[in-house]
Symmetry: C2
Subunit: 293 residues, 2 copies
C-alpha cells in the first residue's frame, strides 16, 4: 500500500471506532469533519518515513503512531480556530468546525481527538506493549505541558514571550513527535531523532511565515496575513523575505545533516529535500534569495 493510503486508512479506522456504539451523532460527524479530507498529512508522512528508514518491522505500530499523531494535530487545528483564539472561519478550504457545527462541538471534537490519540496507541499495545508505552510517552509530552503544543499556544497568553520556547513547542513539538515516534514504532531509540524533528519544525515555521506573508486566502485555504493581524512573531518580520529564505535553506541543510545513521538514511534525506521543495519551491527560493530581484 502507498504511504498516503496507509495513513488515510489508519486515520479513517480510528475515526470509525470513535463513532461506534452509542455515540452522539453530531459529535461523531464532527470528528470525521475535523480530519477528512486531510491536509498534506505531513507529520504522519514524516513519521512513517522515519519508521521505514529505521527498518520498520511492526507496521501496525507505525500505522497507529501515524494516525494518533495526525488526530492530535487535527485537534489542535480545531481548537486554534475557535473564536477565543484565531477566530478562523475557514480551514483547509471549508468552514472551520465551529462554523460548520457549533462552538461546543468544536471544543468537544478537539477534546475527543486528543483522547483518541491515546486510545489508538493503547490499542496498539497488543502488538508491543513496550513500544506502545514509548509512543504514548512521546506523544503526551509533545502535546501537553510543559513542552507540547498546548504550551506553545499558551505562550500567546504571556506578555513576554520566550521566542525559542514558543516556536519549539508551538510548531516544533509535533514534528519532534513525528521523527521520534517513527523511530520508536520501529523499536529504535527515540532520542537521536529529536534534532531532525526540531529542524523540520523550524523549516516549517519559516515556510509558514513566508506563505502567510506572501500568499492569499485562496492559495492557503485559510485566511492570510494572520501573523501581522495578531501581532505574532514571525521570521519575515524579523529577517525580511530574503533573510527568511536564507534561513530556510540553512535549516534544511542542518536537518539533513542531523539524520541519524540508519538503513534508509539516503532515502530519508531525499524525502526531507522533496518536502522542503513542496513547502517553498526551490525556484522561488532562488529568485527570492538573489539580492536586488
Amino acid at each position: 500500500m502507498r504511504m498516503a493510503d496507509r495513513i488515510e486508512t489508519a486515520v479513517s479506522n480510528a475515526i470509525y471506532k470513535g463513532q461506534g456504539g452509542m455515540a452522539p451523532a453530531r459529535l461523531a460527524a464532527s470528528l470525521d469533519y475535523a480530519v477528512n479530507p486531510g491536509g498534506a498529512r505531513i507529520r504522519p508522512t514524516i513519521l512513517m518515513s522515519v519508521a521505514m528508514a529505521c527498518g520498520e518491522d511492526k507496521p501496525e505500530l507505525t500505522d497507529a503512531a501515524a494516525s494518533a499523531l495526525e488526530v492530535i494535530h487535527c485537534a489542535s487545528l480545531v481548537h486554534d480556530d475557535l473564536p477565543c483564539f484565531d477566530d478562523a472561519d475557514v480551514r483547509r478550504g471549508k468552514p472551520s468546525l465551529h462554523k460548520a457545527f457549533s462552538e461546543p462541538l468544536a471544543v468537544l471534537a478537539g477534546d475527543s481527538l486528543i483522547v483518541m490519540g491515546f486510545q489508538i496507541l493503547t490499542k496498539a499495545a497488543v502488538h508491543d506493549p513496550e513500544r506502545a508505552v514509548a509512543l504514548i510517552d512521546i506523544l503526551s509530552n509533545r502535546t501537553g505541558m510543559p513542552n507540547g503544543i498546548c504550551a506553545g499556544q499558551g505562550w500567546e497568553s504571556e506578555t513576554e514571550i520566550d521566542l525559542s520556547a514558543y516556536h519549539q513547542s508551538k510548531t516544533g513539538a509535533l514534528f519532534i513527535a513525528a521523527t521520534q515516534m517513527g523511530a520508536a514504532a520501529a523499536g529504535q531509540e527515540a532520542e537521536p531523532w529529536e534534532e531532525l524533528g526540531s529542524r523540520i519544525g523550524e523549516a516549517f515555521q519559516v515556510a509558514d511565515d513566508l506563505r502567510d506573508a506572501l500568499c492569499d486566502e485562496q492559495m492557503l485555504g485559510k485566511p492570510a496575513g494572520q501573523d501581522d493581524l495578531h501581532g505574532r512573531p514571525n521570521a519575515v518580520a524579523t529577517y525580511g523575505v530574503r533573510g527568511a529564505v536564507a534561513r530556510f535553506d540553512d535549516i534544511l541543510a542542518g536537518a539533513i545533516a542531523s539524520i541519524p545513521a540508519c538503513p534508509g538514511e539516503a532515502a530519508l534525506a531525499q524525502m526531507v529535500r522533496a518536502y522542503a521543495d513542496k513547502l517553498v519551491p526551490a525556484d522561488a527560493r532562488e529568485s527570492l534569495s538573489v539580492p536586488g530581484e
Copy 2:
C-alpha cells in the same frame, strides 16, 4: 499517609511536573488553579478505596491512577464552565477558570490536563507496564468517544437525547473509570468492577439533581437551578423529589450488592454507604421519602 493526603500529594506532584522547564507562566498557574483547592476528590477516593479493597500491592500505580483520573475530571469542569457550555462564573466557590484567567487559557488548561492524565500514567509504566497500559486503556475510553465524558457532553448537542447513554457517559463514565482503574492498579481484572462504578455514577447523578433543585448557590459553590435553566433532563423533573430519593436508595442498595468478592469487600461497602450519606444525608432521605411530609 491518609488517603486524602495521598491524593493531594499525587495531584500536586503531577501539576508541579506540568509546570516545569520552560512552561508559559500563566498556563502553568491555570493548571494549579483548575485542580487546587479541590472539591471532594470523590473519584480518586473511590479509585483508591477499590485498589485497597483489592489488596493494593503497588501504591505508586494507585497514586498515579488516582491523580490521572482527578486531573481529567478537573479538565472536564474547566471546559464545561466555558461560555459556550454552562457559561458558569463560579466553580468550587471561586471564579471559574475562564473568568479568573481567560477563555484561551481555559481551553488550553483543559487540553493540558487531559493530556496530563496520560502523561501521569505513562510515567507509572516504569512500575508495571502491563497495568499502566490497562489504566490508560480504561481512562481513555471513559474520557473520549464514543463512551466517555466527551460523548456525554456531546449528547447535549443532539436534538434527541438517548437518556441512558447520556447519563452513562456524562456522569457514569468517570465513576466506572474510578472503580475499574482501582482494580487495574491492584492488578485485578477491571471488568467485574464496571457495575459498581456505573451505579455510583447513577447515585451521584440523582443526588446532583436533588441538590441542584433543592439547594442555593452558596451551599453548592456553583450556580443552582442549572438543569431547569438549561432544560436538561434530571431525576427530580422525571420522578419528583420523593421519587428521586427512593431511586437514590434503590441505586445505593444495588451498588453495594454489586461489589465483587475481594479482601476488603466489607470495608468498601461501608465506604459506599458513607459516601452516599455525604451526598444526600440519611435523615434528609428519610424525611423526604415519607409520603405526605
